[in-house]
């Protein structure tokens, strides 16, 4: 072996770079503390994974189309790692690559709970003391949606994730109308029962059924009660964007993993005011 060692290409520089920094600091944060990019295996590498189908027969043209789409989505140097024909008219793709976009954490709209999480006791006390009567809650799945498990999880005593449902709260009067309730029926019942809040679940989202149904309900409630007199309108379901309340014309949207206490606390906050 020669005294000055034979080194493979490109290594000495790499090492030289590494050497001075005997015990370097952990990697620097992205250039501003509030801007982040996706993390594949290195800070700020921007790596994302993407899959989709194009209605184009399998072949180089389809591959080129997939790469073009990825680039339009902001993926720099997309790697087309999988492309498979589906039948004769479609191709399915998997793409990896670094996305150029950043997320500005400061402008992220966060639906953090804007109210304190209360225990059942606190909820009961607040209603008892400040409302002086039971709060009436009317629940239903509207339209042709028959997925009651979500609304039941919120309303039924049995509850969800170890928490009892709203029926368990002494100061709440809960009426669960169940599945496939039509909008007119629900509005009528809200009137009859003098509901303080209407809680509606929508699970089927195909063709935006959930959005259509909820907007219709919001409009009918307004038409029936006027905007100031109407009951609070709360919608929930796994595929709602929690940010969409205004767009839908409702007061609050709850998404995946909501617990009964989240909802009870919100009702107190919105209808009764903060506890003493």
């Amino acid at each position: 072996m020669s005294p000055d060692l034979t080194l493979p290409e490109a290594l000495p520089e790499a090492l030289a770079e590494a050497l001075p920094e005997a015990f370097p600091e952990p990697p620097a944060l992205p250039h501003t503390a509030t801007t982040v990019r996706p993390y594949g295996d290195t800070t700020d590498d921007g790596m994302v994974q993407l899959s989709f189908t194009l209605p184009v027969p399998h072949g180089p043209r389809a591959d080129g189309a997939a790469l073009q789409l990825a680039r339009r989505m902001g993926v720099d140097r997309p790697m087309l790692v999988h492309s498979k024909p589906i039948g004769s008219a479609f191709t399915f793709f998997v793409v990896y690559g670094p996305v150029l976009h950043e997320v500005d954490l400061d402008t992220v709209s966060v639906i953090e709970r804007e109210y304190p999480l209360l225990s059942a006791k606190e909820v009961n006390t607040a209603i008892g003391e400040r409302l002086g009567r039971k709060l009436v809650v009317l629940g239903a799945c509207i339209g042709t949606d028959a997925h009651t498990v979500g609304i039941d999880a919120i309303l039924n005593i049995k509850g969800f994730a170890g928490e009892k449902g709203l029926e368990y709260y002494r100061e709440l009067k809960v009426l669960n109308l169940g599945a496939q309730v039509s909008v007119p029926d629900l509005v009528r019942r809200a009137r009859e029962e003098g509901a303080d809040a209407v809680l509606v679940s929508q699970v089927v989202t195909q063709r935006d059924a959930h959005l259509t149904n909820v907007k219709e309900l919001a409009a009918e409630l307004r038409a029936e009660f006027g905007d100031t007199e109407r009951p609070l309108l709360v919608v929930g379901g796994p595929r709602f964007d929690p940010d969409a309340a205004t767009e839908l014309g409702v007061d609050r949207v709850f998404g995946r993993g909501t617990t009964p206490a989240d909802v009870a606390s919100y009702l107190v906050h919105a209808l009764v005011g903060a506890p003493a």
């Binding site: 599945a179 195909q206 063709r207």
Partner: protein
């Protein structure tokens, strides 16, 4: 019969060492529980049964508002003379008398309430019944013909070699469904199920024509059946493999849809004795009456039914409620056989729904699946993939579906409904279906004959669990025998749903039969 080709366990059972006396006891109890319900079915009719009878006699189509003529006619008859004697006597009596061109013409007039209906008696009654019988017999002959056609096509193109791979399409648009069904068949699906729009089961009529506007499913209509069957015949020819078509004989129009399925050569139908009661809040008596007639039609049409026990596990816990599945399978078996279905037509349902966080969940699934296999060795069991514990973690979902497929292979299930990784997200994308097919293909090919190496340890977890579930099912059936099935349903025994006998939709469509009730369709189905 063609259904004999569905892979079943036959003699390959006995891994669990089930107690034969216990198995016998379970069946006896199921019969005792079911018998009074059959009596109920035999002593009532429903608007849907009567409409189905008219459809067999050739009454198709709808008026300008989309209301089927069958509804128009039955409603008119009912308004005037009630349905206690069945729709046939008054209808053929009117037809014989009135100079109407045909049934449709009669229905159109009836809709304007210009037809005077009456219940004939004596010779008139005999003649009306004979005409009705001749008309209905043509419909049944047509079903027989479609069945023979299926047998020929299967003989020509052959059956799948392994378990039948069953896939769902659910776009809401029959034409997108067709595109997707074709792609699925090309990708390896053996059975295509067209899911129905969310609202259809509560419609008290069958929509008419081709439809493109369903939510999370496509309306079951005769024309949609026809279009899809034709498309699949084309694809079958292309592939040299008979691709089966499935839909739902369920909801308020169960018997009518069963009739249409027979007429349009559908091959399997979702048809459960209790699903509508539990999950659609349909009146229990309505359901049991409709069910018996629809099953008689399925029996005739050579259609394999699929029962819906899997659904219980979407609302009840799959471990705690495992025995309710077994008990319900035994009931479904009893009702099916009473209606004339053969073992090879009993696609009893069960599912892979244990919370994956439960220790040994896969072994417990194997125990449940093997129990069903060994209790019903000659039935083409339908094994349903995980749904409830699927989450937005589509990667994990893909894995879970692979283990579902493996459990299916190890316990030799007959019909494998293939799970979609997007179960918790959306109705399946085209690509989900293709990935799912690749998943099951890998599992079936890679595992090959692995069932041969799978021998639950005697007295091990699997054998103990299976014996325990069977014991619980026997206890449950014993309990139900005491109180009656309707009462048990009211108490929330199945799927945790409480449904009182008088409640539920469609109750007003149930009619107690009079002594002079006549239904040539039932007669023909029971005697020819």
């Amino acid at each position: 019969m063609t259904t004999a080709a569905v892979p079943v366990a036959g003699s390959r059972t006995g891994k669990l060492g089930l107690d034969p006396a216990q198995v016998r006891r379970a069946r006896e109890l199921a019969a005792e529980v079911g018998r009074p319900v059959v009596d109920l079915a035999r002593s009532h009719t429903t608007v849907a049964v009567e409409r189905a009878t008219l459809r067999l006699a050739g009454l198709n189509g709808a008026d300008a508002e989309g209301i089927p003529w069958a509804n128009r006619l039955v409603d008119a008859v009912r308004d005037q003379v009630g349905l206690e004697h069945g729709v046939c006597l008054p209808v053929w009596e009117a037809l014989r008398g009135g100079g109407y061109r045909d049934l449709t013409d009669l229905a159109a007039h009836a809709a304007t309430r210009t037809v005077p209906f009456r219940i004939p008696s004596g010779a008139a009654s005999v003649r009306s019944e004979a005409s009705a019988r001749a008309a209905v017999a043509r419909g049944i002959a047509r079903i027989d013909e479609r069945r023979r056609e299926r047998e020929e096509l299967v003989a020509r193109w052959g059956n799948p070699s392994g378990p039948w791979i069953y896939l769902i399409v659910a776009t809401g648009d029959i034409h997108e469904d067709i595109r997707q069904a074709r792609a699925a068949a090309q990708g390896g699906a053996d059975v295509i199920a067209v899911i129905r729009s969310t609202g259809q089961s509560l419609l008290d009529y069958v929509p008419d024509g081709a439809t493109r506007e369903g939510y999370a499913g496509t309306y079951a209509t005769q024309e949609n059946f026809r279009l899809m069957r034709a498309a699949l015949d084309e694809t079958s020819a292309e592939l040299g493999r008979y691709v089966r078509l499935t839909n739902y004989a369920s909801g308020l129009c169960m018997p009518e849809i069963a009739a249409l399925a027979g007429l349009e050569r559908l091959d399997m139908m979702l048809n459960d004795s209790m699903y509508g009661i539990l999950f659609r809040d349909i009146n229990p008596v309505r359901t049991f009456v409709d069910q018996r007639f629809s099953r008689q039609l399925h029996a005739r049409a050579g259609i394999v039914i699929n029962t819906g026990e899997d659904n219980y596990l979407t609302t009840a816990d799959a471990v705690d409620a495992a025995h309710t599945v077994t008990a319900s399978q035994l009931l479904n078996e009893y009702f099916a056989k009473e209606a004339g279905l053969a073992d090879g037509q009993l696609g009893l349902g069960h599912a892979f729904e244990i919370d994956p966080a439960v220790p040994d969940s896969f072994r417990l699934e194997l125990a449940h699946a093997l129990l069903a296999r060994e209790l019903f060795p000659d039935a083409p069991l339908k094994w349903m993939p995980p749904t409830r514990h699927m989450t937005g973690d589509v990667f994990h979902g893909y894995l879970l579906n692979g283990f579902f497929n493996l459990a299916g292979a190890l316990t030799e299930q007959s019909i494998l409904l293939v799970g979609m990784m997007t179960e918790a997200v959306v109705t399946p994308f085209l690509s989900d279906r293709d990935l799912a097919l690749r998943n099951i293909r890998y599992v079936l090919d890679a595992a090959g004959g692995l069932a041969e190496d799978f021998h639950p340890a005697p007295d091990g977890l699997i054998a103990r669990r299976a014996a325990h579930v069977l014991g619980e099912a026997v206890d449950l059936l014993g309990d139900i025998r005491g109180r009656g099935l309707l009462d048990a349903i009211a108490a929330g025994t199945f799927g945790g749903m409480r449904r009182p006998p008088a409640g539920g939709r469609g109750a007003d469509g149930v009619v107690a039969r009079a002594d002079g009730y006549r239904n040539p369709a039932i007669d023909l189905l029971e005697t020819t």
